[in-house]
């Protein structure tokens, strides 16, 4: 099996998994929301309502497509497509697990190990706003436009703090921008230099502040409560997707869940050791390598699922911000905090060495 073929399979697989997880995130969201609210949630479509996402999908595919006559048709269609595209693109650089090995050839479970992985993610994330902006603008509806404007300013603002918090992490990992390196470095060494649990040298223990900032920013980047202003139902009806129907709406909703999935993956990779899990070294000695790889994939997905749950948990608990408060939080609290964090990290690394 050539590397190219493997990569192709991997790409397709990741797309399918992303889509599947996004679809079942909608189900999860509804179930979790229901359970947090003392309800049951969907339970009539299939056993436990498991076919709910399929029902939604089929319905959306077959719904009439309305393109408002006053809107810009091309852009109206381009909006959701771009949103979906950028949502899916990020997954390329995430290391999904330890490499597999077949017949002496090593197959990395990562589509592209580019040396600027983090920057790539930041770049693609910064493009995510186009889908929303274009869609919102093309709808030619004031609520949509307001949503689009809110989304764009919010995403630009929080990108900065996000980048700054990542810098502190990068300082920890000898400045490598490759996600693979970052994850690997969290699997090596001892925690705080003396706690010897293999695969537990996670960045969250060194960078709790950066972790919180990154988490908050990823909430903002994915437009989830408490930062769901662009689509806040009680204010803007649907926000940027107010005018969308059928699958174009589906793409937006789907894209949001894919974004959530990917940002959970990124958080896990940056702060929670990615595919590393405690005892990974020991397992490596007793189990075949490929099995450990699969376990590591499972470990990563476990972390991802926890974060997806966390995203939902927070959404159904917390009120949302107001536009100006959101901006103030981003610029006046998170930004300085992230910079101070970088300075302190840098200072410690400079004066106390590695």
């Amino acid at each position: 099996m050539s590397i190219v073929l493997f990569k192709a399979i991997l790409v397709v697989l990741i797309f399918l998994i992303s889509l599947g997880i996004a679809a079942y995130s909608t189900y999860g969201e509804r179930k979790i929301a229901a359970f947090l609210q003392d309800r049951i949630g969907p339970d009539r479509a299939g056993p436990f309502g498991l076919l709910q996402p399929i029902a939604d999908g089929v319905k959306m595919f077959l719904k009439e497509e309305i393109i408002p006559t006053v809107s810009d048709k091309l852009l109206f269609i381009a909006g959701p497509s771009m949103f979906m595209l950028t949502a899916l693109m990020t997954s390329a650089v995430i290391p999904w697990g330890l490499p597999l090995e077949f017949g002496g050839t090593v197959y990395a479970l990562q589509v592209a190990d580019i040396n600027i992985g983090i920057l790539y993610i930041m770049g693609v994330v910064s493009l995510g706003v186009y889908g929303i902006m274009i869609g919102g603008w093309a709808s030619n509806n004031k609520f949509a436009l307001l949503g689009a404007i809110r989304a764009s300013s919010q995403m630009i603002s929080y990108e900065l703090a996000m980048g700054m918090s990542v810098i502190a992490v990068l300082l920890m990992t000898n400045g490598s921008l490759s996600l693979n390196n970052i994850v690997q470095s969290q699997g090596e060494g001892k925690l705080y230099g003396f706690i010897n649990i293999s695969g537990m040298n996670w960045n969250i223990f060194y960078q709790p502040v950066a972790f919180i900032i990154f988490l908050v920013c990823s909430f903002a980047e994915t437009n989830r409560t408490p930062f769901d202003l662009p689509e806040s139902e009680s204010e803007l009806i649907g926000g940027f997707h107010t005018e969308y129907s059928s699958m174009k709406l589906g793409l937006y909703l789907f894209g949001e869940y894919i974004n959530m999935f990917i940002s959970s993956a990124v958080i896990s990779c940056l702060f929670l050791g990615g595919y590393n899990f405690p005892g990974i070294e020991y397992l490596g000695t007793v189990l075949p390598h490929n099995i450990v790889s699969l376990i590591s994939v499972a470990a990563l997905f476990g972390k991802i699922f926890f974060f997806i749950f966390f995203f939902m948990w927070v959404r159904w608990t917390i009120p949302r911000f107001r536009y100006d408060q959101l901006m103030r939080l981003g610029w006046q609290i998170l930004m300085p905090l992230a910079i101070i964090n970088v300075l302190i990290t840098g200072g410690i690394l400079t004066f106390f060495g590695n």
């Binding site: 509804r30 929301a33 229901a34 609210q37 003392d38 309800r39 049951i40 949630g41 969907p42 339970d43 009539r44 479509a45 309502g49 076919l51 709910q52 399929i54 029902a55 939604d56 999908g57 089929v58 319905k59 077959l62 719904k63 009439e64 497509e65 309305i66 139902e233 009806i237 649907g238 997707h241 107010t242 005018e243 969308y244 129907s245 059928s246 709406l249």
Partner: protein, 180 residues
């Protein structure tokens, strides 16, 4: 498109209503389980709708908890409450903005028939301005009745042929309301 000849259906069983194929059934089932309501809540029934949404009755079980206030995204227009004559055109506008397939449920006495308000200012039933699929009696109906209405709608959705919305009968129905 292609050179496959479509053989004419056997006489007598053509037309909407017949030939609900397996595909159509599957689609109907899917649609029925994913009805996103647009609560056009004007008065008392709206509160009862809230009660239906809340924990005790949980409309989510039917796949309908994602209430979409944007008519574009909604499948089911739930007219819950009195519709005054001043509101009639707005209701119609909302209905027009909805994407096909769309269903309408008139919840409560006021929406269905004007109820107690047989007055100069109240529309005597929303079927004067838009076609209604299911009427739910009660003033306001209890959540049980509301759910009954939703189940009725689901029944309707399940058995609806895909072509119904293009059929001349449906067009004629809309035309009788002066739509399109």
């Amino acid at each position: 498109m292609s050179n496959i000849q479509v053989s004419p259906p056997p006489p007598g069983i053509e037309g909407s209503g017949f030939f609900a194929t397996t595909f159509e059934k599957a689609v109907g089932l899917a649609r029925a389980n994913s009805i996103w309501p647009l609560p056009f809540a004007t008065s008392c029934c709206g509160i009862e709708f809230m009660a239906t949404m809340a924990a005790n009755y949980d409309l989510a079980r039917f796949g309908s908890e994602r209430i979409s206030f944007s008519p574009r995204q909604a499948d089911l227009l739930m007219v819950t409450g009195t519709i005054a004559k001043k509101m009639g055109p707005v209701l119609r506008q909302v209905y027009l903005q909805m994407a096909e397939p769309r269903w309408v449920i008139a919840v409560g006495a006021c929406a269905s028939s004007g109820g107690i308000f047989d007055t100069y200012s109240v529309l005597q039933g929303i079927d004067k301005v838009i076609p209604v699929d299911v009427y739910v009696p009660g003033c306001p109906p209890r959540p049980e009745q509301l759910i009954d209405g939703i189940l009725k709608i689901q029944e309707l959705v399940k058995n609806e042929p895909l072509k119904r919305r293009e059929s001349p009968e449906y067009k004629a129905l809309l035309a009788s309301y002066g739509i399109e």
